[in-house]
């Protein structure tokens, strides 16, 4: 009489009501994502199979756009360069940011709030403004060159703008807070007495860092690294404003297909490839690092 008994009607209608309520709460967001992302992505996918010649698009279901990405060395080079830049910027942010995150996490009260606000202000200041400001700093007559000459370190101004170096400095500057904030959250949760216990048991500061602090704050490290890497690889404005002709990254290439050559089919193919690449990267990353965090 237990297992085969049909569900009571009242009980059933409760479940239906609950499901209705959840659907009502989720549907505006899902609808928005569907109309303004999923559906348009379908248009992009469709147009990525079109061909483009002499400024005219034809729907003829071709794979030549995708073939071009993998055969023309330029695109592989840009991808490779973007990934390399991403890696370099990520590691730089981690090394530069960790001591700062640690300092914030281990301060208290007003001082901590001040340090956090100091991090959040540049974090949210207009990206365009922050990026072009580096032109004022790194230009031939800029602030850095002036002080270097004042100090007698150099005689003639250095050419710093429109180089890979300028792009990297700009990117580290833009994304550093994205690294420090998750690191801070992770270190803050770590009980300071664990570090003290390690030192009490005879580990010096360096050993304590590598044997206790770093392993226990790995979730923050992985979150920060993923955010910074993904954002760096897809950055547009910094290479656009601070880089030279050879410093274009993936987003710049895609943008120029749409607004420079107007080759939408090829731009679409690039966008689709970039999207798949990003999703794959995040999936693989989560697979590796989330398992580690849970274990």
């Amino acid at each position: 009489m237990s297992g085969a008994m049909p569900m009571r009607p009242e009980y059933n209608s409760e479940a239906i009501q609950l499901r209705k309520r959840i659907a009502m709460l989720l549907s505006p967001g899902l609808l928005w994502l569907l109309v303004f992302f999923a559906l348009p992505m379908f248009f992009v996918l469709r147009s990525s199979f079109d061909s483009f010649a002499g400024g005219v698009m034809t729907s003829d279901f071709t794979l030549q756009n995708y073939a071009r990405i993998f055969t023309e060395p330029l695109y592989i080079q840009v991808l490779f360069k973007s990934l390399l830049t991403g890696l370099f910027v990520t590691v730089s942010c981690l090394v530069i940011g960790y001591p700062v995150a640690h300092l914030i996490a281990r301060s208290t009260g007003k001082k901590r709030n001040l340090l956090l606000i100091g991090l959040v202000i540049p974090f949210w200041t207009s990206l365009v403004v922050r990026t072009y400001a580096w032109k004022l700093l790194l230009g031939t007559n800029g602030v850095v060159n002036y002080h270097l000459m004042q100090l007698g370190i150099i005689d003639t101004p250095l050419r710093m703008l429109f180089t890979t170096g300028a792009v990297v400095v700009g990117l580290v500057h833009v994304f550093l807070p994205f690294m420090i904030l998750p690191l801070y959250a992770s270190i803050e949760k770590l009980d300071a007495s664990l570090e003290e216990a390690s030192q009490d048991l005879g580990a010096n500061a360096v050993q304590t860092f590598f044997k206790v602090t770093l392993p226990l704050t790995l979730p923050g490290v992985t979150t920060g690294c993923m955010l910074v890497f993904i954002m760096t690889v897809s950055s547009f404005l910094t290479p656009d404003l601070l880089g030279g002709a050879g410093n274009a990254m993936i987003s710049n290439i895609i943008q120029s297909e749409f607004f420079g050559t107007f080759n939408w089919p090829f731009g679409s193919a690039l966008a689709i490839s970039f999207l798949l690449f990003s999703l794959l990267f995040v999936a693989v990353y989560n697979k590796f690092f989330n398992r580690e965090q849970k274990g």
Binding site: S126, Y132, I230, S234
Partner: protein, 261 residues
Amino acid sequence: MLGRVTQKTWSMLVYLFLFAPILAVTLMSFNASRFSKYPPTGYTLDWYVDAFEDPAIVQAILTSAFIAIVAASLATIIGTLAAVAISRYSFRLHEFFRATFMAPLIIPEVVIAVALLALSANLNLQGGLPIVIAGHVLIGLPFVLTVVSARLHGLGVDVEEAAMDLGANEVQTFFKVTLPLAMPGVIAGLVLAFTISFDNFLVTYMTAGSGTVTIPIKIYSMLRFEVSPKIHAASTIVIALTVALMLLYQFFSRESEEKTH
């Protein structure tokens, strides 16, 4: 770690690095030299006067504010509803839906821009306000969801159950207890979404068309076509607005924390 002194010195240098561009722009906006020579030899407010007298700049700030208000409001409503579902109920595909709402955070902005461009081409729109707003809502959603979910999570379900136990049905519970208590989180989400929209560059740049000029786009185009220190003045105004908003956000998220304890 490191040694306290080294760590402090290092951190100060990092903060200097973070603030250097902001300080540079602010300094140059008061610099009397037309060519932004460093170090400044004199100070002036002329560039602010210039900026405020340039109708295009004023219009761009207003356009940005309008887009940000509309986009942030929509993102906050949509995101709050989703946050309630995701942090209060368990259902099939729960993780999938959460990941879907968070997706705009990891999808490259250029891809979102391309998608919206394709949409407006297929609808024969010339880009413009609706498409820009749609994109800004998309980008703001994960931020609202995160902030409001965190707030709801901190509240616990206890108070909602208490309301129901005292005779409030689901709808009454939501409006009398859940929403008032989640309010600091909702407002914090609104401010975040506003800031994100106000500062957005790439989606706006690629989808706005020529008719819609926001302040980041205006500054970007002035950099190319119109070298004048009033760029610095306009930029400093934008910085000041963002800082004010961020302080507001800090205030609400602090409020949010205090009320949970």
